[in-house]
């Protein structure tokens, strides 16, 4: 299968010399639905952040579609291999302003596509419908969202910029059971609709949830990874 993004022996230490990632190698192929598991502090978030190149790594390389990423391609890379924060930060203003924000950047996604507020609103509404959420969320003040609402907005914002790989850091942890399950099927549908060009890596602690989405499982222990075979 075609690797969308690969970690090649990446290693990272904190300023104080603590090993955060050590010799981590794995690839995320098109169609993968990877569960990333491990104890707290084992380096799951560090690993996702390294994969989207948010933090500098001291050793190894991250390859994007089998190439190293040039500095000038970094904005495009981060939208394509997109890290979603566990509690997504919001820029000031309404939810819709947060959803439009990526289109105002100098390296905006699909310049030729329809990027007007109306079109973003319409696409966001489709997703909210599938979660059975009300469209009024879009006009709320983004600074006053509950944890679950922020996670929903963060995911919609992520899906709207059309990434290939979603790096999800416990994306449903603050959601209600019902929303979490609707979100699961939204994300599973998202990859299975276009398995030739989409994949996600999902940090989760819930075994029942992992059973539902995972096609692969990677276990982290103290900054190192191990692929675990799934019993099918």
């Amino acid at each position: 299968m075609f690797p969308l993004v690969e970690a090649i022996q990446i290693g990272r230490e904190s300023q104080t010399g603590k090993v955060l990632l050590s010799d981590v190698s794995f690839s995320v192929n098109a169609g993968d639905q990877v569960a990333l598991t491990g104890a707290n502090g084992s380096g799951k978030s560090v690993c996702l952040r390294a994969l989207s190149m948010l933090d500098p790594i001291q050793t190894g390389d991250v390859r994007w579609r089998e190439k190293s990423v040039a500095n000038s391609d970094m904005p495009a890379f981060r939208r394509d291999v997109h890290y979603v924060q566990q509690t997504p930060a919001m820029i000031s203003g309404t939810v819709i302003r947060n959803l439009i924000y990526p289109y105002a950047l100098s390296h905006a996604p699909d310049k030729n596509g329809s990027t007007s507020e109306d079109s973003v609103r319409r696409r966001a509404k489709l997703m909210l419908d599938r979660l059975d959420w009300d469209v009024t969320l879009l006009d709320q003040d983004a600074q006053h969202l509950s944890g679950g609402e922020a996670q929903v907005v963060g995911l919609i914002r992520a899906l709207l910029i059309s990434p290939s790989v979603l790096l999800l850091d416990e994306p449903t942890a603050a959601m209600s059971e019902m929303t979490a399950e609707a979100t699961e099927s939204l994300l599973i549908n998202w990859t299975t609709e276009h398995p030739e060009q989409r994949a996600f890596v999902w940090v989760s602690h819930r075994e029942s949830q992992i059973d539902r989405f995972a096609t692969r499982r990677i276990e982290m222990t103290a900054g190192q990874i191990e692929e675990v075979s799934l019993d099918v």
């Binding site: 970094m74 981060r78 924060q85 924000y101 914002r157």
Partner: protein, 267 residues
């Protein structure tokens, strides 16, 4: 110009007793600090007086330039000392910005604004006070600006990283914090320009008036000085903040938050 007798200075010095009495009466426990501050005022200014007299009498570039350099280094160091959250390279950044901005503006003042030949006969008499005033204000601007920059970046770290994940360049991710920092650094000088002359007369002008200068001449000098200070502060603050930004955001559009350390939280 009329000189002051040492007795007169002594009378003024005794006025500090007023503060001492206040401190004692209100139990501020400031007696020691007050004493130290008073002593430093006397010692530092006396030293400066004698050094300046020596330098003024020399009329030599080789005594003037080292003194100017020393003043610049002290200003550069002092501006970092007031910054709580620092990062590697902050000393060099501060020194570079202080040096370039203050020397450039002092140079413009001497060669393009003052212009007349009097300063060339006694360069120190003009260069030292000008540089001093510009340095004093620039170091305030830089320390306020750098403090604000690192505070903003750390407080809004998640938001800045969010912007980066959405495809923002390092500049797009950081520019709000940078604007905020520059604004903060410029507040004192802008405020100063707003009320200058209304509430108090600036030190330089007061000095000139006490020394018997014509008020209009004194005002002209003061206007020039205000703009020199504003230009120096602006240049130095912007320079230090942009250099700081380049240290904290690398070419790979990564925010190096780990490089920011808090000088007060160290246990």
């Amino acid at each position: 110009m009329y000189d002051l007798s040492y007795t007169a200075v002594l009378i003024a010095t005794s006025l500090i007793l007023v503060n001492g009495i206040v401190s004692f009466a209100l139990q501020l426990n400031w007696g020691y600090k007050l004493l130290l501050a008073s002593l430093r005022t006397v010692v530092q200014l006396s030293l400066v007086g004698f050094v300046l007299r020596a330098v003024f009498e020399q009329h030599r570039w080789w005594t003037l330039l080292p003194l100017m350099l020393l003043m610049t280094v002290i200003a550069g160091v002092a501006s970092v000392k007031r910054v709580r959250r620092r990062h590697p390279g902050i000393w060099l950044n501060s020194l570079t910005s202080v040096l370039i901005s203050s020397w450039l503006i002092t140079g413009i003042a001497l060669f393009a604004i003052i212009g007349h030949d009097a300063w060339k006969e006694q360069p120190a008499r003009y260069a030292i006070p000008l540089l001093g005033m510009i340095l004093g204000n620039t170091l305030t601007g830089i320390s306020l600006g750098m403090n604000k920059l690192t505070d903003e970046l750390m407080q809004k770290r998640k938001e800045i990283e969010l912007r980066l994940t959405l495809g923002a360049t390092r500049w797009e991710a950081a520019h709000e914090a940078i604007q905020e920092a520059i604004r903060t650094g410029m507040i004192p000088i802008i405020n100063g320009m707003m009320i200058v002359g209304l509430v108090s007369l600036p030190g330089l002008m007061t000095g000139q008036l006490l020394a018997g200068a014509d008020p209009v001449t004194a005002v002209k000098y003061q206007i020039v000085i205000m703009f020199l200070i504003a230009a120096g502060t602006g240049l130095g603050t912007v320079g230090a903040i942009l250099l700081g930004y380049l240290r904290l955001f690398n070419a790979r559009h990564q925010f190096l938050y780990e490089h920011i350390f808090d000088t007060e939280s160290k246990s």
